[in-house]
């Protein structure tokens, strides 16, 4: 226990880097994902196909492979960036596909009758989307978005293997120094992750129930 308390600054610094990594990647991934979802529901077939290909290809490949591309592939293309930006690039490119699917499933979760009703009272595409479909879709899209955020948080630990000094990297570094306090340090590291993931997961669950009742 004392090993954990003595090394708390190290763990906290790692946690800070993790938080920065998670938040920056989540913001970029969310923007990309919304754009992709827009492409997938747009009436332009080419955009649909392009977005579908992106999502299908990215989702079936492990996160770590994307990290390898970002870290060892980009320099081959003449793009030289540091470890942290590379990790942000990998996480946001990868999780954009998942955010896209969360947004799309939210749009698809609105019953067809709602759109039909909107059309039948004379609303056009834009009006139907704005006044009927999107307000309902947005509500039901938040829980899946939160779940993707939790997944991104957990995946951010992979960055530890690619030179980013985030929480898990600090932990494994500490473990090699404090070899007689391996388990307390690992537990402390777990606690830091749980502080993010459990509240977000519970919030998603609660919102999901609320949305389910509303309809």
């Amino acid at each position: 226990m004392s090993a954990v308390i003595n090394n708390l600054p190290v763990l906290l610094a790692g946690f800070g880097t993790s938080l920065a990594l998670i938040l920056v990647s989540a913001a970029i991934a969310l923007l990309l994902g919304v754009a992709l979802a827009g492409m997938r529901v747009s009436p332009v077939p080419l955009l649909q196909t392009a977005a579908t290909c992106y999502v299908e290809c990215l989702r079936t490949v492990p996160t770590a492979v994307i990290f390898f591309f970002a870290l060892f592939g980009l320099p081959q293309m003449g793009v030289r960036i540091g470890f942290f930006p590379a990790a942000v690039a990998a996480l946001s490119v990868y999780y954009a596909a998942f955010f896209c699917e969360a947004v799309r499933s939210g749009i698809n979760s609105v019953p067809t009758g709602q759109a039909e009703a909107a059309r039948s009272i004379g609303l056009e595409f834009r009006g139907a989307l704005r006044f009927v479909v999107l307000p309902q879709a947005l509500r039901s899209v938040i829980p899946p978005l939160l779940n993707v955020f939790v997944a991104l948080t957990k995946s951010s630990a992979i960055a530890s293997a690619f030179g980013v000094a985030e929480l898990l990297a600090s932990t494994t570094a500490l473990v090699t120094i404090e070899s007689d306090a391996v388990i307390p340090i690992l537990l402390a590291c777990s606690a830091f992750y749980l502080v993010i993931t459990i509240p977000a997961g519970l919030l998603a669950e609660r919102l999901e129930k609320k949305v389910a009742v509303a309809r």
Partner: protein
């Protein structure tokens, strides 16, 4: 002799039509079609420009040279990658079987009549679902030796994946069971089945249909998760790719990683396709 034509049977696998595809707007007229065509041209140009600039960048750095990609035809590289794929599949298979077994135990506890057991299961699930898989793998890999147990990398990986996925799959099982009409369980109790028999004979077989898509998605996820083995030095597909790149030199990074990604893609797409076929058969 029916006069109304029978409605075409919709295949069970089709999802409800996405609202935005047809219902939201009329089928476009001449002006709409023109607009869509213009949009397609504009979008195509932008996409083509992006792809072209990426290709140009790659070509300028010599990544597109045929000589670099010819390395993929090398028999030793193919053997290395296939060996990696085999190790990946081994971990995935063992972890999947153990995860489902663990999930069955967990779901039994989660839906138990005894509230302490229920609470304990709930806490267990929340804990292990909320932790990064890599942390769990390190817990086994670094934590077990600390208390005097030596765990080979294969088992560290398998146990880590199992701890995580049994919690996730338990929730899939629970959602599947709870999606069934209440009358099913009540009817089973009414004919005198005990709780465990009700679960085993009545509820689980029906729930399988509802949860099959999520279960298969989980198989794909497990397969992807095995790639974390490279961190602790288990020689699965990704690590073999890394070994190959270290041996061949970093100029071959892109061809080799593209091959690795393609292998994951192929296996996972094959699993998804198989699942869709199976699902179609089960729901009929």
């Amino acid at each position: 002799m029916t006069t109304t034509p029978a409605r075409p049977a919709t295949p069970a696998t089709t999802r409800p039509a996405p609202v935005t595809s047809s219902v939201l707007f009329d089928s476009p007229g001449p002006r709409g079609r023109r607009r869509i065509r213009n949009g397609a041209v504009a979008a195509g140009t932008v996409l083509a420009l992006i792809i072209a600039s990426a290709l140009f960048q790659l070509g300028r750095n010599g990544v597109l040279d045929a000589e670099r990609w010819a390395v993929l035809l090398n028999r030793d590289l193919a053997r290395l990658l296939l060996h990696g794929l085999w190790s990946t599949l081994q971990v995935a298979l063992v972890a999947m079987v153990l995860s489902v077994a663990g999930a069955l135990l967990l779901v039994a506890a989660r839906l138990s009549d005894r509230s302490p057991l229920r609470g304990a299961a709930k806490i267990w699930i929340e804990l292990f679902r909320g932790l990064p898989l890599l942390v769990l793998i390190f817990m086994i890999f670094l934590g077990a030796p600390a208390i005097g147990i030596d765990v080979p990398t294969f088992w560290a990986l398998v146990i880590g994946i199992t701890l995580y996925n049994s919690a996730v799959i338990c929730e899939i099982f629970r959602a599947g069971i709870q999606s069934l009409p209440k009358g099913q369980a009540e009817a089973a109790y009414a004919i005198g089945l005990r709780k465990i028999e009700t679960q085993r004979v009545v509820l689980l077989p029906q729930a399988i249909n509802a949860m099959l898509p999520a279960l298969v998605a989980q198989v794909v996820i497990i397969l992807k998760e095995t790639s974390l083995g490279f961190v602790i030095g288990y020689t699965e597909l990704l690590r073999e790719g890394r070994v190959a790149v270290e041996y061949l030199g970093s100029t071959y990074a892109i061809p080799v990683y593209v091959a690795v990604a393609a292998l994951y893609l192929l296996v996972n797409l094959a699993i998804s396709r198989m699942a869709r076929r199976l699902e179609g058969r089960l729901t009929h």
